[in-house]
Symmetry: C2
Subunit: 160 residues, 2 copies
Amino acid sequence: MNEQICFKPIGIIHSPFAEISGVLIQPLSAKGIKGTIELITDFTEGLKDINGFSHIILIYYFHLVNKFSLQVVPFMDNELHGIFATRAPSRPNAIGISTVRLISVKQNILHIEEVDIIDETPLLDIKPFYPQFDNRSTDKVGWLKGKEILDGIRSDNRFK
Amino acid sequence: MNEQICFKPIGIIHSPFAEISGVLIQPLSAKGIKGTIELITDFTEGLKDINGFSHIILIYYFHLVNKFSLQVVPFMDNELHGIFATRAPSRPNAIGISTVRLISVKQNILHIEEVDIIDETPLLDIKPFYPQFDNRSTDKVGWLKGKEILDGIRSDNRFK
């Protein structure tokens, strides 16, 4: 269980957010925020048929986060929660996921919207979003109950 | 863009699926399939408040997949698609995601259901599932259109 698992980025995400603070914290609140994915050209063939999807799941590396904390006060709350009960970036493995809107694909460049991701973020994977598989009805949403109104909450430097 | 990004598993997923073939291919079709997560005990503190959530997102390593293909014929179709337009495991970075049902938490052990994951899979991250952030209405679902009925489709050895 102690072995390292290593990946190489498949591309880079470009966005208007240059710094770790001031980033909109969910795609939901990032409507109209545009970005691009620059896929390594060796992988372009892997994009066949992706333009059929309006939404894609991005898996990426929180490259500006240098430490992890097992308990954090997330941007959306004033209480301490276990890191695995939050979406905060300062995780043991600094992996982020965002479902974004896919606008167009030209060769190895994907134009996307609803981008809550920092500029120059290393991209690890792209998957198609399929609501029949990916949407869920939940019984319980813990401390996030009633917190769906983000009202432009942005990141600060607490996880730097 | 060529640097390696390395992670260590935060735990191991246990499930009834011992082999790469015969696995139910989405949580949707794995209702009633039980599993456990054995978190490394160093990280137990990170689980605080996770028991408030009925669903959690698991990010894990497809540890039995040894090669990648840029285009594949997925389990659910007979046509070739770009790997990034599919959920097939033979990806450039062999990262999987599943949203599963969280049943209970005892110390570092999480009991889960709707498990479409192979036994002994290295776990990279756990995030809470929050439908207000994670559910989407899509305009287009590409080649997956009308394929929501899985009818017990299971994996075979094609991506081994």
